[in-house]
């Protein structure tokens, strides 16, 4: 069942198109990773999904309802954590958590609240004024996890957390998934997305350039190979689909387009393979491929 559906979403601020055709879907029980450089339109998309911004064109639907018109109805079933959590300086963390949970409606889960406060090691008796960025994020996370939502929307939720707390966050997300909840996770931290997400979407300059499961996307990218042969490999440079060759004695490391892997292996096996290491592409490679190309193009280079 589709929980969230975004179709040809466009958002214009003055003359500038912050979003220029964003498409993706999120099914029930799925974790969708939303990645892209700063200013690509991740937060704008999320704010449209929350009914805080009005889409210029296209549609954004959650639970089959319109994100703008049925905002309140939708919000009964979602929990949102912004990347930059601004809280009321003269309220305590505990007060803010209660307020936020209460405002979402539904039943308040007192036991969960205490449990998550403990897990995130938050002192709820302190005024929000005294909290660091990470602690403010913890307040929003505790409020989100201790409410009984069907869809969680996280906008770079761990940017201020330490690695231990990042771990706790990942556990909480995984638990939510096991309970059948859906998650939209926007993030820069690719290892996190890689660990948690079933599918990812890469957004660049307001357009969704790629969506799919990690293995689908890996198909589009290159495998890292390290090969040691008895004799030096001839004409490796001329082979299509081979990149970034570096020679280190008898060992050669390079990247191969996944669809050219077969041809490349056939080409090098006659030279007598002594050692072969292959590594699947990381999300980082994927991301860098889109984002890095952009930089190279900007520099006038060609890849």
């Amino acid at each position: 069942m589709t929980v969230l559906e975004v179709k040809d979403l466009k958002k214009r601020f003055g003359q500038f198109y912050a979003l220029n055709g964003v498409n993706f879907e999120l099914s029930e029980g799925e974790i969708f990773g939303f990645i892209g450089p700063n200013g690509a339109g991740k937060s704008t998309t999320i704010r449209i999904l929350l009914g805080i911004l009005k889409a210029t064109e296209g549609s954004a639907k959650i639970f089959g309802k319109d994100a703008w018109n049925d905002a309140v109805e939708i919000h009964k079933r979602i929990a949102y954590v912004p990347g930059d959590v601004n809280l009321w300086p003269n309220l305590t963390g505990g007060e803010v958590i209660d307020l936020l949970v209460k405002l979402r409606g539904g039943k308040s889960r007192k036991r969960d609240r205490e449990r998550y406060i403990e897990r995130f090691e938050l002192d709820p008796t302190k005024k929000c004024r005294t909290y660091s960025k990470g602690n403010r994020q913890k307040v929003a996370l505790v409020a989100a996890f201790s409410s009984d939502a069907d869809l969680y929307i996280f906008d770079e939720p761990t940017s201020g957390l330490d690695p231990l707390m990042e771990q706790v966050f990942q556990e909480c997300v995984t638990e939510a998934k096991h309970e059948g909840k859906s998650v939209l996770l926007s993030s820069h931290i690719l290892s996190e997305v890689e660990k948690l997400c079933d599918r990812v979407g890469i957004i660049r300059q307001g357009e969704m350039v790629e969506t799919g499961t990690l293995s689908e996307l890996r198909h589009l990218t290159r495998t890292n190979l390290l090969v040691e042969t008895k004799e030096p490999i001839d004409s490796l440079y001329q082979l299509p689909g081979v990149y970034d060759i570096s020679v280190n004695g008898k060992a050669v490391s390079f990247q191969v387009d996944t669809e050219k892997l077969d041809a490349v292996m056939k080409h090098i096996s006659p030279f007598g393979i002594v050692k072969l290491e292959s590594a699947p592409p990381t999300l980082e490679d994927l991301f860098m491929r889109y984002y890095g190309n952009e930089r190279k193009q900007a520099a006038g280079g060609d890849s």
């Binding site: 929350l50 911004l53 905002a71 919000h75 949102y80 302190k126």
Partner: protein
């Protein structure tokens, strides 16, 4: 040792001056402007000694003494009058300036981590505190000199050079005492807000001790720095000893602040921050409760302020008649109506001032919604099951109640004080009715704020200009003899002048309709637009 502790004090002071290159001049310009304009106005309004003595009569009651302190009422020259009416109030404002500037450069910088950055450089431990104190000493000396020589330069007969310099020095001295108090609290308290809070509390206690002391027990007001300020008797006896005392106390406070700063860790304080509530009370857990909670302190302060304003107006009622006699300027501003005493004719003008002032807190309450939006905090609510209508509706409800409470407090204050000092007091319903007559105009202003928030969120500041316009045009309209339509551009211009005029239902109805329409458009706009930030 001391040298290394204060290394780079000079460069930090220069840096602070650069950061405050607009802020400090603005304070100084504001303070000197009001200090200079008042004696000039007094000199023109009360030309003869007879008029001034009449005013002195109205000042001779406990309420006025509690407000502005003792003055030289026997020889009420323009100078004595200025010192009596202005010196204490100005000293309070100077104290406030010093508190805000000191905390800004000490605990606030420390709390935000900027001081840590500086302290990692070869900068002495006490350098920042002493740089801030140096800046404030310079500012207060400058203030004392500008006011001292400036008042003398006004060339008013009763304002000689010595009195003027003493007037300035009393202000500067009082400023330094509160700079010192703030510097001490900046060491004691862990966060800048409570440091400011404690310092302002000291300022208020000093004022209240003087007020109670001046009315009942002189010894009590001799314990208050603000009591010393009025005892300089500038332009009458010119007593310099209080200024000396102010300076001694401020030096003691400076040393104390340095001592506390030297023995504590960066970021630490001596007053432990008490833990707050672990859970939110049920009252807080809805948009209305949150909106109220965020503004509670400010609203209470405004409420007290409105009540005190009402009391201070009411307390002069008993002596108003004698005050009016021979004051042409005020007579010109009030329309003469047969059958009503001048005191009663004065009521509508007081009501106008009080109602426009009472419009400020509800409009502020409304504007809080915009500032919450700009700080990205409304999205916490809108991302949950709070509709936009409910959100803006909560603020409107709060503003509407706020306005009602404010104008009521002012009216009750006025009535109770007038009743206490007048032989033949007003009826409560007359006063309260005259005040409430302005409520529809206040609602139009609130409606205007709602409209701007919903439809023109970038132009919300316009409402303040409109309120200021209403005040200037209607308060000074009679004096400058503006044509009538100028006043009719403000909703306050349609309010009948109770009790001398009678209440007409039609304007009230139209004002309510306008308020309703503006709000309706505001609600609609707010539902349709993007939330900023």
């Amino acid at each position: 040792m001391l040298r290394s502790m204060t290394k780079h004090t000079g460069s930090l002071a220069k840096f602070m001056l650069r950061r405050d290159r607009i802020r400090i001049p603005l304070w100084l310009i504001g303070l000197t402007f009001f200090t200079f304009i008042v004696p000039l106005a007094f000199d023109q309004m009360y030309e003869s000694q007879h008029e001034r003595s009449a005013l002195a009569e109205t000042m001779n009651n406990p309420a006025m003494i509690a407000m502005v302190g003792h003055g030289n009422l026997d020889n009420y020259t323009t100078g004595a009058m200025t010192a009596h009416n202005m010196l204490l109030m100005t000293a309070v404002v100077v104290g406030l300036m010093n508190i805000l500037l000191v905390i800004r450069h000490t605990r606030a910088d420390e709390e935000d981590g900027r001081l840590e950055l500086l302290r990692s450089l070869p900068v002495g431990r006490l350098a920042n505190l002493n740089a801030a104190l140096a800046v404030l000493i310079g500012t207060n000396i400058l203030l004392a000199l500008i006011i001292g020589f400036g008042l003398y330069a006004l060339n008013i007969e009763s304002m000689d050079l010595e009195g003027s310099l003493l007037y300035g020095a009393a202000l500067g001295g009082a400023g330094l005492v509160f700079a010192g108090a703030a510097a001490v609290f900046a060491q004691l308290s862990e966060n800048s807000r409570s440091a400011t809070g404690y310092s302002i509390a000291v300022l208020l206690i000093a004022y209240l001790m003087r007020a109670v002391g001046d009315v009942s027990n002189d010894a009590l007001s001799l314990l208050s720095p603000l009591g010393w300020v009025t005892r300089t008797e500038a332009y009458s006896n010119n007593v310099w000893q209080p200024v000396l005392l102010l300076l001694i106390i401020s030096i003691v406070l400076f040393i104390l602040a340095n001592y506390f700063n030297a023995i504590r860790d960066l970021g630490a304080g001596f007053i432990p921050a008490k833990p707050g509530k672990r859970n939110a009370s049920p009252l807080l857990q809805n948009p209305l409760g949150l909106a109220f909670r965020l503004q509670r302190t400010g609203m209470i302060a405004w409420g007290i302020g409105m009540f005190v304003l009402g009391i201070s107006y009411g307390s002069v009622m008993g002596d108003l008649e004698s005050f009016f006699e021979g004051n042409e300027m005020l007579e010109q501003m009030l329309i003469g109506v047969e059958g009503y005493s001048l005191t009663e004719q004065f009521i509508p003008m007081l009501m106008l001032v009080m109602s426009i002032l009472a419009t400020v807190p509800p409009v502020m309450a409304m504007m809080k919604l915009i500032s919450e939006e700009k700080k990205h905090r409304v999205e916490h609510l809108l991302a949950r099951t709070v509709s936009r209508t409910k959100l803006i509706g909560s603020y409107v409800l709060l503003a509407v109640i706020n306005g009602f409470v404010m104008i009521s407090l002012a009216a009750i204050g006025l009535w109770s004080a007038a009743d206490a000092v007048m032989e033949d007091g007003f009826s409560f319903s007359a006063i309260y009715g005259a005040a409430l007559a302005y409520y529809p105009a206040m609602l139009v202003m609130i409606g205007g704020a709602v409209f701007l928030i919903g439809c023109l969120p970038k132009l919300t500041g316009v409402i303040w200009f409109y309120i200021a316009y209403s005040f200037i045009v209607l308060y000074l309209g009679g004096l400058f003899q503006f044509p009538e339509w100028v006043g009719k551009l403000s909703p306050f211009g349609y309010i009948p002048q109770l009790p001398i005029e009678s209440l007409e239902p039609l304007p009230v109805f139209f004002l309510l309709m306008i308020a309703l329409f503006l709000s309706a458009f505001g609600f609609k706009g707010y539902r349709m637009r993007d939330i900023e930030g």
